[in-house]
């Protein structure tokens, strides 16, 4: 059905020297082609500045989802991560509100600015997850929400008259809170992560890590890692998306040593050694949140925000979203609206 004009107008007037759109390999090779050496400064590298200016002007979207049973400190952690009251609980919701009878999805949007960079941050909370007596299929509403965001984006993208910048509500990162039992993962944890690691970037996090000693922590982390591996759960950063050797070694280190991050969250400040630090005050001492000896919060923050924020968005866009789109256009997404059979060959590209 899609017989583009390229085929019919490929006559002698079209240059035979027009290069085919070359698929750039995932691992960048040495630059091929006619490599011409420059004799003077042209100014090509200014494109970096130009690009930076443009992106700063347009601003960024980031959507982070927190999943875990209630009481694990999700809201506090998110507040600590973004150093402001971004969680649902702080946005005018009652702290003592009842645990909902079903899994709800609540998304709150904020605009934060730092260093001239504007970010529209959306925190998606999932109260009610894992809190029922019967928790069967409680990941379904979450999966549905994530797919709905993909669907929304797809609809916008497929429009004839498209917006200049499609609003991005897709979930870029999902922090999954593991209860610090010290033993192993719960079946609910495994089920959730198994289902959702295919549609979203999951970063498992051990919550309330101040209940474990250092040895317990290391052992628990090892066990969790092993269990995740045994169950074939690919958490972010996924092995298969490592682009080059550099990424691979860096990510391997994170995957095999640091993850899952054992974190402690706090939005209260205390005086320690003359400095104001975020921490938790207990009779036996103050747990400093940003102290790497105490907990791995700083690692998580650096990982998510300072080094891999853009990568999280890109993996979501280039891989998870594309997978969803391909499935959807092939007609077996099983999601609203109706799924229709479509031919899967050149003729019908939609």
């Amino acid at each position: 059905m899609f017989k583009g004009p390229v085929e019919s107008k490929n006559e002698a007037t079209m240059s035979e020297l027009v290069p085919e759109p070359r698929q750039k390999p995932v691992v960048p090779m040495k630059p091929m082609g006619i490599n011409t050496s420059l004799l003077g400064y042209i100014g090509i590298d200014t494109i970096i500045e130009q690009m930076r200016k443009k992106t700063m002007k347009t601003g960024f979207d980031f959507n982070i989802m927190v999943v875990g049973q209630s009481g694990l400190g999700k809201s506090t952690l998110v507040n600590t991560l973004f150093k402001s009251q971004v969680s649902r609980k702080s946005s005018g919701w009652n702290r003592e509100e009842k645990i909902p009878k079903t899994v709800e999805i609540k998304a709150i949007g904020h605009v934060i600015e730092e260093g001239g960079v504007k970010m529209k941050l959306t925190v998606i909370d999932t109260p009610g997850f894992g809190d029922q007596i019967n928790n069967e299929n409680c990941w379904e509403p979450i999966e549905k929400y994530i797919n709905e965001q993909y669907e929304k984006f797809l609809k916008e993208e497929v429009n004839i008259a498209r917006k200049k910048r499609i609003p991005d509500t897709r979930v870029h990162c999902c922090l999954y809170f593991i209860s610090p039992t010290g033993h192993s993962l719960r079946p609910l944890d495994l089920e959730f992560m198994k289902h959702l690691s295919k549609v979203v970037n999951i970063i498992p996090v051990i919550a309330k890590a101040d209940t474990m000693t250092l040895e317990e922590k290391t052992e628990f982390k090892q066990r969790v890692r092993k269990e995740l591996e045994v169950n074939g759960i690919e958490f972010y950063p996924q092995k298969e998306f490592d682009e080059d050797l550099e990424d691979k070694t860096e990510n391997d280190k994170i995957r095999q040593e640091s993850m899952p991050f054992a974190v402690v969250g706090s939005d209260k400040e205390y005086q320690v050694n003359g400095k104001r630090v975020l921490g938790r005050k207990t009779p036996w001492g103050i747990i400093e949140v940003e102290n790497l000896n105490h907990c791995e919060f700083a690692l998580l923050r650096d990982f998510v925000i300072r080094t891999h924020l853009q990568d999280l968005k890109e993996v979501t866009h280039n891989i998870h979203y594309e997978t969803y789109r391909a499935k959807r256009l092939n007609g077996n997404g099983g999601l609203p609206p109706m799924t229709v059979e479509t031919e899967e060959n050149h003729e019908s590209n939609l």
Binding site: M1, F2, P5, T13, M14, S15, L17, V18, P19, P21, Q23, K24, P28, P31, G33, I34, T36, L38, G40, Y41, G43, I44, D45, T46, I47, I48, Q50, M51, R52, K54, T55, K57, F82, K83, S84, V86, E104, I108, V111, I112, E114, N137, C138, P141, K155, I160, R162, T169, D302, R306, Q310, D311, E314, N318, E322, A326, T342, S348, N349, L350
Partner: protein, 429 residues
């Protein structure tokens, strides 16, 4: 399990202030790093007559000698020749593609000169659109061949734009960012140049040609862009040869009456062009191509194919529904065609059958006729045979009769002889 999904509270986005350093201000750097590792694409289209200095200008602009041979004037039509180069400056890799219009303005009849150019531009858009519409696509890896900037070379006549220029630019202005430049500007004197420039700009405006507007919405570049826009179209001189000026070597053209320095802003606008094209607006050119020209192309193409965003009742159409409808239509047509063909086939068969029957009948007749003839002949032969037999019989009878007579005669004769003999014998006795 019943589910309540909360709507993202987009309406009341809260502006929050941070109580400490979070660190997402490194986000632009993260973004830029990713792009740098992938490399950038930039595609320039040079439109202008043969010999107006396109290749030389490209060489001068990018400070390299791009291998190419000068074109002849005998081209039968306009051809587009694209060449790709990889340039690297510090850690930035640029995939530069320069597309040349070979043979532009050489023909006697230039009516169709603009067509190959428009077709080429459309073809690049089409390729991108095809990739975007694929089910399994890889846009982040895609080697973008869409034209980001079109340098239109105006011949330095000193009077006004040629009609070919106007027509071509009008056809291209909605498809590509046009930057008009006056080529070989060293043939125009300073005072004439100013008049020439204003004439060109007023002609462009009066003919409604949309050339590329340098963006003035961002403070850092607004000023420089605004000042540069005044000098449009840029009068440029290109040269790859170096001449010793003072104690430096500079790109220049040496004449008996003086030296035209390419990078001297008093002599020509080359520096301005380089600033605008590369150092300030390269990213904006790419963005405009994608968000404006490509979107326009895409919209037209999809509408042409019959897709709509909303149906007459202004309820949003799902693209898939439209596609389904189209597909059913298509299948219906196929079915109709099939039926038609089947009917034709049946008709043909009937015809052939009738023909064959006729032939058969003919053959039968012939056969009958032959048979009859044969019968007649046979009868004739039989008759003749009978006749002959009769004659034979008669002859036999006659023969028999004759023989009888003869034998009778013989007997009589022999009796006579015997009698004679007896007589003779008797006489003796």
């Amino acid at each position: 399990m019943a589910v309540a999904v909360g709507r993202p509270a987009n309406d009341d986005l809260r502006n929050l202030s941070l109580s400490g350093h979070v660190g997402f201000d490194s986000l632009p750097d993260q973004l830029v790093n990713k792009s740098t590792s992938q490399g950038f694409c930039f595609n320039i289209l040079c439109v202008g007559e043969t010999g107006i200095g396109k290749s030389t200008l490209m060489d001068t602009l990018f400070n390299t000698k791009f291998e190419s041979e000068p074109a002849t004037h005998n081209e039968p039509g306009v051809r587009l020749k694209a060449r790709s180069y990889e340039l690297q400056e510090s850690n930035v890799r640029l995939k530069l593609t320069i597309v040349d219009t070979v043979g532009f303005g050489d023909q006697i009849n230039k009516d169709d000169s603009y067509k190959p150019i428009v077709e080429y531009i459309d073809a690049q858009f089409e390729a991108y659109l095809q990739e975007e519409l694929k089910i399994k696509r890889s846009l982040f890896n895609y080697h973008d061949t869409r034209i980001h900037a079109c340098l239109y070379f105006i011949a330095p006549t000193g009077h006004s734009l040629k009609s070919l220029d106007l027509v071509t630019m009008k056809k291209l202005d909605s498809k590509v960012n046009i930057i008009p430049i006056i080529a070989k500007a060293d043939t125009i004197a300073k005072n004439e140049l100013h008049k020439f420039k204003s004439k060109i700009m007023s002609e462009l405006v009066s003919n409604g040609v949309q050339i590329y507007q340098f963006p003035t919405d961002e403070e850092t570049v607004a000023e420089i862009n605004a000042t540069m826009s005044v000098h449009l179209p840029f009068a440029v001189v290109g040269s790859t040869e170096e001449v010793k000026i003072g104690n430096k070597m500079a790109k220049a053209r040496q004449y008996p009456w003086g030296v035209v320095q390419v990078e001297n802003e008093n002599h020509c606008d080359f520096v301005k062009l380089r600033e605008m094209l590369i150092r300030v607006n390269m990213e904006d050119l790419r963005e405009q191509t994608h968000t404006r020209h490509y979107e326009l192309y895409r919209r037209c193409k999809l509408e042409e194919m019959g897709f709509k965003d909303t149906d007459p009742d202004s309820k949003p159409f799902s693209l898939q529904e439209t596609y389904e409808a189209k597909r059913n239509e298509f299948l219906g047509e196929l079915q109709k065609k099939e039926d038609e063909m089947r009917q034709m086939f049946v008709m043909r068969v009937k015809e052939k059958e009738a023909e064959l029957k006729e032939a058969e009948k003919d053959l039968h007749e012939k056969f009958d006729h032959l048979k009859r003839t044969h019968q007649e002949e046979k009868k004739k032969v039989e008759d003749k045979k009978k006749e002959l037999e009769e004659e034979l019989n008669n002859f036999q009878k006659k023969k028999a009769a004759a023989q009888l007579l003869q034998s009778q005669a013989q007997q009589a004769g022999s009796q006579q002889t015997k009698k004679d003999k007896d007589k003779i014998n008797a006489s003796f006795t």
